[in-house]
Amino acid sequence: MAAATASRSGLRSALPLLAPAYLWLTVAIFLPLSAMVFFSFMTELPLSGKPWTFTLGNYAAFFSQSLYLTLLLASLRLGLEVTLWCIVIGYPAAYVLAKVLKGRSREAIFLLVILPFWSNGLVRIFSWAMVLREGGILDTALNAVLPFKINIDLMYSYPAVIIGLVHSYVPYMVLTCYLTLQAIDDSLIEAGRSLGASRLQVLKRVIIPLSMPGLVAGAALIFVPVVGSFMEPRILGGRTGTFYGTVIEDQFVAVFNWPLGAALSFILLAVVLVILAAASPVLKREA
């Protein structure tokens, strides 16, 4: 009884602290999102002034045309590839930051990792455009150094989209992994080594399992926005840059068909949630 009262009064005193965040979430996220759910079941946008009725047609459109499914699968593949590259590049960097570097040098390297994070996304993508194109910075630099002539034109291709997205999202992976790696007690690693484990065994049996929460959090933070990304594919992908996200953008911007755009977005949301839910038992065990 006493405990219950205490927890209730705890909640009451916490309320002023919670209220701003929840009020903001309600106004800024919940209300517009519910409006979008509402729109996704309509034949016309009420703003357009035309008569409208409720329909499931927008959701049916996804299943009646193979192109949406093709694009959704392409976007999911893109999400997986980008996440994988972020792990390959970000995890070792986070390890070095957390365990090898100390003091000033750590701060400097850390800043370098975070720096792109502070610049505007569009600026980053356009700078990649300058680097990747034929006769661009990469092409010119490599040809100046190499004795033979090579032709590098990665712009407007699938690899260009991967490069741009990995660059944008790798800081998430470095940050989340750094936090969990730093929390690992060095004496655990030393104990493993002194009990005869090789470096690889220590990595596999001690470090990776203990840093799994960071890896999982980073992967989720990267995978979800990449699947819905539209700016990077559109600018860097050229002819191959049509993805699920770009089609949704077309519905909102080009043809002003908000209901269909909203329905496609919620199908994406549902698919992503199903994937995360299906992966969660595995991830939980690992974590």
Binding site: G135, R239, G241
Partner: protein, 353 residues
């Protein structure tokens, strides 16, 4: 927070924002147009404000559908709206725009008769749109890639330019381009399969889909493309203003032409100001300055075009009677057509991935 408080807060916010939105004063002219398209040039706004005492407030749209929605949802806010002639019907049917008293526009008499009398703008003898400028969606080439300019649209399909061809990411424009390539009327496409086949064979040639003038100019500047669809005004601007090696080609098969016009929305608070603004926009003085300083499409006002130098692109190339014979003006498109075009275009883009 208690429910009534929340409601009060939301209502207050709504009232506050709508008060801001509807604060259209009598001596203000609210203009709705594409961004960077003449009406928001600072020197033009300043000159107009000085001459008439009206203050110009610009607002912008990103698509014609958005423009229609903005007029519909903000009755009385806008005084002048720039509407592509192909959308004038839709705006009139929706009772969004009102007839214009052309006797209040001294420059109206100089507008070429075929544009002023366009059935897209004049309904039952009443004028719902004042023609402003027109232009073409034709081809433009990178001068470095051609010894002499091509004459046929077939250059887009030439294997020599594979991977160096661009087309705009716009379903209607792409389908109408396909119609011209297959020798059809852009406003009455009988053989859609032929258009699809033709465009399918174009897709492997494509480097990327451009969406803004800046995309196009950057790709030419870095010599990444040979040829692509482009707007006539933009090609002129690339050549004269940015000094890029770009030439417009109006292929023998034809090109898509569009006409932009000004309308006055129903319920406009400052009709007199709107009339003065439209008259200023079709004035030769404004037009010459616009062409010289920025680069612009072709004015619908014949006097304004004549005020340009003899060798000006908009006079020499666009005024060529041979060109006039080949071009097809865009007529209104139904929503169903638009969606069918988009579906076709998206399918083409997915198939080429």
């Amino acid at each position: 927070m208690r429910m009534p408080d929340l409601t009060a807060l939301l209502t207050a916010t709504a009232v506050f924002t709508s008060a801001l939105t509807f604060a259209a004063k009598a001596d203000e002219v609210h203009v709705l147009n594409w961004k960077g398209y003449g009406t928001d040039e600072p020197w033009a706004v300043e000159a107009f404000e000085k001459a008439t005492g009206n203050k110009v407030v610009n607002d912008f749209f990103n698509s014609e559908q958005e423009m229609l929605t903005k007029i519909r949802t903000n009755p009385g806010l806008y005084d002048v709206v720039m509407i592509n002639a192909a959308f004038n019907d839709q705006a009139m049917d929706g009772k969004l725009i009102q007839p214009i008293d052309t006797s209040k526009l001294p420059n109206y008499a100089d507008i070429s008769k075929d544009k002023a009398g366009s059935p897209m703008l004049v309904h039952d003898g009443k004028v719902y749109g004042v023609p402003w400028v027109w232009g073409l969606t034709a081809l433009a080439i990178n001068d470095k890639s051609f010894d002499k300019p091509p004459t046929s649209i077939a250059a887009m399909w030439d294997a020599a330019h594979k991977g160096r061809v661009v087309i705009r990411d716009d379903a209607v424009e792409a389908v109408q381009f396909g119609a011209i390539a297959t020798g059809q009327n852009i406003n009455d496409i009988k053989d859609m399969d032929a258009v699809k086949t033709k465009l399918t064979s174009l897709m492997p040639q494509i480097k990327t889909f451009w969406s803004s003038e800046n995309d196009w100019n950057q790709m030419v500047a870095s010599n990444q493309i040979d040829i692509g669809t482009y707007w006539s005004g933009s090609a002129d601007r690339a050549k004269t203003h940015f000094k890029l090696p770009v030439s417009l080609v109006v292929p023998q098969e034809g090109a898509v032409a569009w006409l932009d016009a000004f309308s006055i929305p129903v319920g406009a608070k400052n009709v007199a100001g709107a009339e003065a603004f439209i008259n200023y926009m079709i004035d030769p003085k404004f037009y010459v300055e616009w062409v010289t300083k920025v680069g612009a499409p072709v004015s619908a006002n014949t006097k304004a075009v004549e005020a340009l130098p003899e060798d000006a692109f908009n006079r020499k190339v666009m005024g060529d009677p041979e060109v006039a014979k080949r071009i097809q003006f865009q007529a209104p498109i139904t929503d169903a057509q638009r969606e069918a075009y988009l579906a076709l275009w998206q399918q083409l883009k997915v198939d080429v991935k």
